[in-house]
C-alpha cells in the first residue's frame, strides 16, 4: 500500500512537473481596451500595447531600454550629405497572410502615412522625407529634404510599422503584420488573443498564446490578480495596492521608467502666465516630492525640464525650480500680484492628474494663488485645453518618447512661441553625431527650464505586478508596448 501511494505520488509529481514545463500561455491585464488594432490609424496607447513588436514590426524598433535596434531593416548606410539613407531589408520575411515582405511594402506603408488626407496620428514623424523608393526587393532608399538625425528612432514608432497593401484596410479589426505573434481573436469588451507565428523570421517566442484582458476598474484589477485570473498587469492602475503585492511571495512588483513627463502646463499666451515671473512663482510653489508621495505613493522621479531621466542626454535641472514658497511669494509681488490671483486647474481623468491636482492646488493656495479645480473627461480636455487653449493650468503626462520638440511648435497648447527652441530643434535634426546631439538636447532642456514654460513635476513610473514565475517582461516603458517576444515561465 505504501509502495502504491509512493508510486502515485511520483506520478503526480511527474504530471505536475510536465504541466509546469508546458505552460506557454499568459494572460496580461490592461486597463483600457484598444479601439482598433491598426497602429497607423490612431493614437490610443492601448493599440501599441497589444500589437507593437508582437504583431507589427517597423524597419527599426525600440529595445527594452529605449535603444533603437534593427528590425525589418538589417542595416543601413547614410550618404555623406545626410540626404539619402539606404536600408538593407531582411530576406525571407512574410506577412501573417503568407505574402512575402518586400521593399514595395515599405514604400506603400510610408506613402500611405505621408499622403494628403492620411489619418496617421504621428504624421510629423515623416516630415522631411521627400521620396521613398524600392531599389530592389530588399533594398530601400529614403530621400530627405534636410538631414534628419531622428530618422531611425522615428521609424521605430508603432505608427511607422510596415503593413501590406493586401491587408492594410482590414488591420483595424484583423491586423496582419510580420511579427512573432499573429492575431487570433478579439472578443470585444473582454479580451484579445494572439498566437505564436510559427513562420516567424527571427527567434520564435517561448509563449504559444498571449491573451490581453481589459479591466478598467482598479479594484477589479486587484481582485483579478489575486484570484489568479491574470498572470501579469504591466501597468497596474492602483499604486496603493502595490505594497500588498510586494509582501506576497506569489507576485513580483516590477517598477520601471516611462516616457511620461508629467507637467503642470501653463497657458503662456494668457495673463498672468505670459509673465515669466508668474510662471517661476508657480514652479517654486510646488513641492514635487510631496506630489509624488501623495498622488503616486512614492513612485516617480522629480524632473526639472521636459526630459526623461533615464535618457543618456538627461540633465538634472530640478534645482532651478526648487521648492521655495518664500521666493514664490516674492516673485508674485514683483510681478504685480502681491495678494496672489485666481485661476483654474483643468484635470483629465488619470489618477496622477486628479490626485496630483488636489495637492498642487493646495500648494499653490499656500502662496496665495487661488485655484479652482475643473475635472474633465479626455474628450473635453482635448477640446477645451488642447485644441481651443481655453485654460489656465492643467496637469498632463506627455508619454511620447523624446518629445521636447513640442516646445518648438508655434501653435502648441501651452502657447509659448520660442524661436530659440526652433533653432535648437533644427540643429538637432541636422546632425546625427551623438556628442553634438547630446549637447543640443542639453541646451534645449536648459532653455525650457529657464523659460519655465511649464512647471515640471515628475517622470511617471511604470509599476506593474506579475506572477513571480514569469520572466522577461519589460521593466521600463520606452514606448507604449508589451513586448512578449522574450517572456517565458520559469522552469
Amino acid at each position: 500500500m505504501k509502495r502504491l501511494s509512493l508510486a502515485l505520488a511520483g506520478c503526480l509529481m511527474v504530471l505536475a512537473g510536465a504541466a509546469a514545463a508546458q505552460r506557454s500561455d499568459i494572460t496580461i491585464g490592461m486597463q483600457l481596451e484598444p479601439p482598433n488594432l491598426d497602429p497607423t490609424a490612431g493614437a490610443a496607447a492601448a493599440i501599441d500595447e497589444v500589437v507593437y513588436a508582437n504583431v507589427f514590426e517597423g524597419l527599426t524598433r525600440f529595445g527594452p531600454d529605449g535603444e533603437v535596434l534593427p528590425a525589418l531593416a538589417e542595416s543601413w548606410e547614410i550618404a555623406p550629405d545626410g540626404l539619402s539613407w539606404v536600408f538593407n531589408l531582411r530576406e525571407g520575411v512574410s506577412f501573417h497572410d503568407g505574402l512575402p515582405f518586400t521593399a514595395e511594402d515599405v514604400v506603400f506603408s510610408f506613402d500611405r502615412a505621408m499622403a494628403e488626407g492620411s489619418t496617421n496620428a504621428q504624421k510629423q514623424l515623416f516630415d522631411g522625407i521627400n521620396e521613398v523608393t524600392a531599389i530592389d526587393d530588399t533594398t530601400l532608399e529614403i530621400g530627405l529634404d534636410v538631414p534628419k538625425g531622428s530618422l531611425l528612432s522615428n521609424l521605430a514608432w508603432g505608427d511607422a510599422v510596415i503593413v501590406s497593401p493586401a491587408s492594410a484596410e482590414g488591420n483595424a479589426t484583423n491586423p496582419i503584420g510580420t511579427g512573432p505573434f499573429r492575431f487570433s481573436q478579439w472578443v470585444q469588451g473582454d479580451r484579445i488573443e494572439l498566437v505564436r507565428n510559427e513562420e516567424y523570421w527571427g527567434e520564435k517566442p517561448a509563449l504559444g498564446k498571449v491573451t490581453f484582458k481589459f479591466i478598467s476598474d482598479p479594484t477589479a484589477a486587484f481582485a483579478a490578480m489575486m484570484a489568479g485570473d491574470l498572470d501579469a498587469f504591466p501597468v497596474f492602475p492602483a499604486p496603493e495596492n502595490l505594497a500588498q503585492f510586494e509582501a506576497d511571495p506569489r507576485f513580483s512588483v516590477i517598477v520601471g521608467s516611462t516616457e511620461g513627463e508629467t507637467i503642470l502646463a501653463m497657458n503662456n499666451a494668457r495673463p498672468p502666465f505670459d509673465d515669466i515671473r508668474v510662471r517661476r512663482a508657480v514652479a517654486h510653489a510646488i513641492d514635487r516630492q510631496a506630489v509624488i508621495d501623495g498622488a503616486m505613493f512614492g513612485y516617480g522621479t522629480p524632473i526639472g525640464s521636459h526630459f526623461a531621466p533615464h535618457n543618456p542626454a538627461y540633465e538634472d535641472l530640478t534645482a532651478k525650480s526648487a521648492y521655495d514658497p518664500e521666493l514664490s511669494r516674492a516673485l508674485l509681488a514683483e510681478a504685480g500680484h502681491p495678494e496672489g490671483f485666481s485661476t483654474t486647474l483643468t484635470l483629465p481623468p488619470p489618477s496622477y492628474a486628479r490626485r496630483g491636482g488636489e495637492i498642487v492646488a493646495s500648494q499653490l493656495r499656500a502662496v496665495g494663488i487661488e485655484v479652482e479645480i475643473v475635472n474633465v473627461e479626455w474628450a473635453q480636455w482635448l477640446e477645451q485645453v488642447f485644441t481651443s487653449k481655453d485654460f489656465g493650468l492643467t496637469i498632463v503626462s506627455h508619454t511620447e518618447p523624446m518629445d521636447i520638440g513640442i516646445y518648438a511648435r508655434k501653435d502648441y497648447y501651452f502657447g509659448n512661441d520660442d524661436p530659440v527652441m526652433r533653432a535648437l530643434m533644427l540643429g538637432l535634426d541636422a546632425t546625427s553625431d551623438e556628442t553634438e546631439r547630446t549637447a543640443i538636447l542639453r541646451a534645449a532642456q536648459e532653455r525650457v527650464a529657464d523659460q519655465q514654460v511649464n512647471a515640471f513635476l515628475f517622470q511617471l513610473a511604470k509599476s506593474g505586478v506579475a506572477d513571480a514565475r514569469i520572466e522577461g517582461l519589460w521593466a521600463n516603458m520606452p514606448t507604449q508596448a508589451n513586448d512578449m517576444t522574450g517572456v517565458h515561465w520559469k522552469e
Binding site: 490610443a44 496620428a121 483595424a172 484582458k213 481589459f214 484570484a227
Partner: protein, 315 residues
C-alpha cells in the same frame, strides 16, 4: 382589448420619436470631437480634419440625424467611429451578456422575493415577519457594487470557486457562461429581491384587508386557501409594475456591476463610447435601451389587462 392595445402602441411609437430627437441633439451639444480623441496629442489639425471627413462628421446635424433614423428603420445602426465595426454587430455581441444577466438577476430576485413576501404577509406581526422586514431593509440599503466586491473577495479571491470576472463567451459552453454570470446576477438580484419582497408583502396585506377576502373566509375557506385563491392574484398588479421597472433597470443600469466584474455588456459599451465620443454607438445603444424600456412598459400594460379584466374595458 384590441383598442386598448392600439392606444398603447401609438403612445409607444410617439415616445420613440421624441426619444430619438432628445438623444441625438443632446449628444450634439456635448463638447468633444471623436476624431481629436482618436488622434491624440501629436496630430496636426489637418490630420484631424481628414479623419473627420473620413468619418462623415462634416455633414450638418440634421442630415446626420435623418441618416441615423432612416438607417435604424432598416436595421442599419451605422459604423462605430473608434472601433470601425458595424454598431449592430457590437450591440448584438454585448446583448448576449447583458440580456441573460438581466434575465438571470430578475428570475433570481422574483424567485426569492415572491415566496418570501407571501410568507411574511401570511405571518404578519410574527418574529419571521420582523426578520424578513429587517433583512430586506438591509438588502435595500447595501449598495450592490459593495456587495459585488464582497462576493468577489469571498468566492473568487479566497475560495477560488469563481473567476473574479470576465466573460468567456457562449462559445465556451452554456455552463461556463452561466458560471461567469452567477456572481454578477446575485449582486444585482439582492437589492431588487429586497424591494420586491417588501412590495409583495405590503400589497398582499392590503388585499387581505379587502371585503372579498372576508366573504371568502365567511364561505368557509381557510386563511391559506383565501390567500392562495384570491389575495395573491389581486396583489400582483403593483408587483408586476415593480418587476417591469426592475427589468429596465437591470438591462440599462447594470453598468457598475459590469465594471466590477469586467463584463463586456451594454453598460460598459456605452460608458466607453461616451468617453471616446463614439457618438454613433452611444446614440444607437441608448435608443435601443429606450426601446426596450418602452416595450417592457407596453408589455406590462398588457399584462395588467390580463391579470385584471376591468382594465380591458374602455372607461
Amino acid at each position: 382589448m384590441f383598442r386598448y392595445a392600439l392606444t398603447r402602441f401609438v403612445s409607444l411609437a410617439l415616445s420613440l420619436v421624441v426619444a430619438s430627437l432628445l438623444i441625438f441633439f443632446m449628444l450634439e451639444i456635448v463638447p468633444g470631437d471623436p476624431a481629436a480623441y482618436m488622434l491624440g496629442l501629436n496630430a496636426s489639425p489637418e490630420t484631424v480634419a481628414a479623419l473627420r471627413t473620413e468619418l462623415g462628421l462634416d455633414a450638418g446635424p440634421v442630415v446626420r440625424y435623418l441618416g441615423w433614423v432612416s438607417g435604424m428603420l432598416t436595421g442599419d445602426f451605422g459604423t462605430s467611429y473608434t472601433y470601425r465595426t458595424p454598431v449592430a454587430e457590437m450591440i448584438l455581441d454585448r446583448i448576449q451578456v447583458s440580456l441573460p444577466l438581466a434575465l438571470l438577476a430578475l428570475a433570481l430576485s422574483t424567485l426569492i422575493a415572491l415566496p418570501v413576501g407571501i410568507w411574511a404577509a401570511s405571518r404578519r406581526g410574527s418574529l419571521a415577519d420582523a426578520g424578513v422586514m429587517g433583512a430586506t431593509q438591509l438588502g435595500v440599503a447595501v449598495p450592490n457594487f459593495w456587495f459585488a466586491m464582497l462576493l468577489v473577495l469571498v468566492f473568487a479571491v479566497q475560495l477560488r470557486w469563481f473567476s473574479a470576472g470576465g466573460f468567456p463567451g457562449w462559445d465556451a459552453g452554456l455552463l461556463a457562461g452561466l458560471k461567469a454570470l452567477t456572481l454578477p446576477a446575485i449582486a444585482l438580484a439582492l437589492p431588487q429581491a429586497s424591494i420586491l419582497a417588501r412590495v409583495m408583502r405590503s400589497a398582499l396585506l392590503d388585499t387581505l384587508g379587502e371585503d372579498f377576502i372576508r366573504t371568502a373566509r365567511a364561505k368557509g375557506l381557510t386563511r391559506g386557501q383565501a390567500l392562495r385563491r384570491h389575495a395573491v392574484r389581486n396583489a400582483l398588479i403593483p408587483v408586476l409594475t415593480i418587476i417591469g421597472l426592475q427589468f429596465s433597470f437591470l438591462l440599462a443600469g447594470a453598468i457598475i456591476i459590469e465594471n466590477v466584474f469586467f463584463l463586456p455588456g451594454l453598460g460598459r459599451l456605452v460608458f466607453q463610447a461616451i468617453s471616446q465620443r463614439d457618438l454613433v454607438v452611444v446614440e444607437s445603444v441608448v435608443m435601443l435601451l429606450v426601446f426596450a424600456v418602452i416595450l417592457v412598459t407596453f408589455l406590462v400594460d398588457l399584462a395588467y389587462a390580463a391579470v385584471d379584466p376591468r382594465l380591458r374595458r374602455p372607461h
